[in-house]
Amino acid sequence: MALAARSTKPKLPFSLWHFLLAPTALVFVIPLVWMILTSFMPDSDINRFPPRFWPTTFSFGGYSGLWTDSDILLWFRNTLIVSTLGVVGHLALCSLAGYGYARLKFFGRNMGFFMMVGTIMVPTQLLMIPTFILFSRMGAINTMAAPVIPWLTSAFGVFMMRQFFLSLPRDLEDAGRLDGCNQFGVFWHIILPLAKPALATLAIFTLLGTWNDLIWPLISISDEKLYTLQLGLANFQGTRRTQWQLLMAGNVVATLPLLVAFLAAQKQFVATMTFSGMKG
């Protein structure tokens, strides 16, 4: 805004944009704040009319109820497994394939790449039923393998990593090769350390996707002990329809890890979205 100072209009003490942003920001954030506050409310605060915003006393009944009435700890562990394996799988497989498709010359490369990227067009719903049948024939239904396998890698991840590797200068690799590294050595010692921002982006994406995934666990898991957090919560809601204190406590447990991660790494999150969305 280098030339804004030229403006001759009388200057308001604050920008008019605040009138748009302040109410919008509150509408976006208040439900989440209320969710957290409600999770600490005693029943008497919730089941009254009109509802309270601030609890009269802070009670941990919701959390202890969650602990005794549900398998929340197992669900949390299961989600951790799905997310961890998903992120690790994505980082390993997508960076390997992304590098291969970006830099190596080999027979069948273009065909392999186009076929793989073409699958981005295939919507998940089309795959649900055959994947369900496939998994049940493999005996993977109702095991942790079912929600994990579809998340081990993705065409989008490979595509994103490839685009990133294409943007790196080739000279570095040639130098590595002269130093006697083999192809994997070049990849491991020279390329990967440069790829940290792209890998962080990929990890964040995968974390969000795996942590919040509902449909794969929903289809492939019916054993309550194997529920992920999201599936557990969604079904818990069915049986505890109006026990809001419990449900909100569950919501907090399911949301807080990502919320904290978001607040801690907001810059990288924002970079992730913009990178993935527009810069490809």
């Binding site: 394939a97 981005i120 089309l126 993705s154 449909i215 809601q237 949301t255």
Partner: protein
């Protein structure tokens, strides 16, 4: 397997026609050794991806020609499923609900996202606070968002009706009223995912060269003219991109319906994918559900191609 984020699939992502696909290769045919090395890098991901998408997608087509209850042996019925589909009133109702949702959700999220991005792009006080507030719901899952929405829009004790009461307005049924439920789901979706549109626009706005903006200012353009004739045309590609993305997300609406209304009241919020889910995994008509899946795929493709074509026609290069 496409990444399911922010809602489902990145089908709108850029197609593969990027840089770096070398035809043939300058040094002639690659050696066996380099081919083995190349596939050692690429095969794990490629095989997994193809195995979990191309193979099931083809299988889904054969399923769509079957009567299949997922338990007893399937029987071939030819194109009977598609014939039934073409006359299924529930399917048309689901398509209508999805269309209504898309018509409400896509333009609102794109225009709202643009407006908020412009506001957030200003160097004003509390900018960081505003940004954080608007992005934060984006990390909440559909399950958490759905449960929270049930709480806020609860007919008797919810905050929404209480606000209406304080303002002296009549009480509403919200998610329990068949005329309002879908609209409420639109609002919840906007709350949960408009952050994505804001982010893509914010990135695009920051890419608009400051020099051009200054040049326009020097040439005597006022703020509105600068925006209308300099900034807005620059935003064409991101608009097409965001609209296609949001449209695909809208067609695939499922999670939020599942965690709020489960298609109720009176089936007024049954979307295409919810109908598919119900047919496949609640009524065990896997053959018929596969036909629905192909119909959804076709609709998605047609609409996406139309929007990309329209963007091209309007001289907007988004892809």
């Amino acid at each position: 397997m496409a990444i399911t984020f922010p809602t489902h699939d990145l089908n709108g992502a850029k197609p593969p026609f990027g840089r770096g696909v070398v035809k043939g290769g300058a040094e002639g045919r690659p050696s066996l050794r380099s081919t083995l090395t190349g596939w050692a890098f690429c095969a794990p991901a490629t095989l997994l991806i193809l195995g979990l998408s191309v193979f099931p997608a083809g299988w889904a087509f054969f399923l769509s020609l079957q009567k299949n209850d997922l338990i007893t042996p399937a029987t071939n019925v030819g194109f009977a499923n598609y014939k039934v589909l073409a006359q299924d009133p529930d399917m048309f109702a689901a398509a209508w609900h999805t269309l209504f949702y898309a018509l409400m959700y896509v333009p609102t999220s794109v225009i709202g996202g643009l407006l908020l991005a412009i506001a957030l792009n200003r160097p004003i006080k509390f900018q960081w606070f505003y940004r954080t507030c608007i992005f934060v719901p984006f990390v909440a899952s559909a399950a958490a968002t759905g449960i929270l929405a049930n709480f806020v829009f609860d007919e008797k004790f919810g905050a929404a009706n209480n606000v209406l009461r304080l303002m002296g307005l009549p009480q509403q049924g919200f998610l329990t009223d068949k005329h309002q439920a879908m609209m409420v789901i639109v609002i919840i979706s906007l709350w949960g995912s408009i952050g994505f549109c804001v982010l893509t626009y914010l990135a695009a706005l920051q890419d608009v060269s400051q020099d051009i903006l200054d040049a326009a200012r020097v040439d005597g353009a006022n703020k509105w003219q600068t925006f209308r004739y300099v900034t807005l045309p620059e935003l064409g590609p991101v608009t097409v991109f965001t609209a296609v993305w949001q449209l695909i997300a809208a067609i695939q609406l499922f999670d939020l319906v599942f965690t709020t209304t489960k298609g109720q009241p009176l089936n007024s919020t049954v979307t295409l994918v919810f109908y598919l889910y119900r047919m496949a995994f609640m009524e065990f008509k896997a053959g018929y559900a596969s036909a629905i899946a192909y119909a959804i795929f076709a609709i998605t493709m047609i609409l996406t191609l139309f929007m990309v074509w329209y963007g091209k026609k309007s001289k907007v290069e988004a892809f």
